[in-house]
Assembly symmetry: D2
Homo-oligomer: 85 residues x 4
């Protein structure tokens, strides 16, 4: 079965986001009212797996090892089955 995983990697709340601060400050200079800007990553992965459970394991492995930095980031994801029947 084929699955699409939509993965969101975001900075932990306690961690500063200098790039987000830069965007917030730049928007204020353009006279926009912005309370906060936090910049993370969005990953789309298409995977093959025998069932949903295996697919979830694969996505967790990818996030834990290759996509998120556990010291400063957390992740969530949605898994969509690409099969129609």
């Amino acid at each position: 079965m084929k699955f699409t995983a939509k993965i969101f990697v975001t900075l932990r709340h306690s961690v500063l986001d200098p790039a987000g601060t830069a965007v917030k400050s730049a928007l204020e200079q353009m006279h926009q009212e912005v309370e906060s800007v936090r910049i993370g990553k969005y990953i789309e992965m298409i995977i093959n797996a025998t069932d949903q459970e295996i697919a979830i394991q694969q996505v967790n492995l990818a996030c834990d090892r290759l996509l998120a930095n556990p010291v400063i980031e957390t992740y969530t994801f949605e898994l969509i089955s690409n099969e129609s029947n």
Copy 2:
């Protein structure tokens, strides 16, 4: 009114994604079956605006000028009103 914008910046389909290729290849080395990995950005912005239309204009401005690189990226977003009533 206060709004939360959830912004997705993704590479255009025609554009190579070397970082995504690296992750795909690394997963294959771990014996995972992966068809594609595309890495983009996910931004959460909290803004103040008099109404939804103004909020949408603000998000478009931020994306066009500061968050997305129009040569290679496109963006979509969801806007959520933080007001309860």
Copy 3:
């Protein structure tokens, strides 16, 4: 006076680099012998300042607030005077 700052932002040694790990693993799959890959940022800034001391202060301010994440990153820079005389 005009100065060019060449700024290197790198992950602290104690911090995992998932994107670097992905590149290393992908290279190994291409039968390359790689011991480590660490991915940081490289920033070129052109600034105006009355003298070199002020220029250094400006670069430090930019790094501390907007370019480096102090929890996980450190930075170094070179400052080049663009004036010829």
Copy 4:
């Protein structure tokens, strides 16, 4: 032989740098005089190769396939031999 490659990946001059623009604008709001900010990547790679020529081939391969996006980026690198004799 062991080599350290210091790799600089920068956006082509013709390509907009939204993240750099955000930092420049944020610095101006802090009353800093900045002419331009361009944000790229800095990668340190330690590789094993029989000689310098092979090492250069390895670095080019890594850059062309995994580190730089040829549509918008270019790269340069320095190669340092880690052997003392």
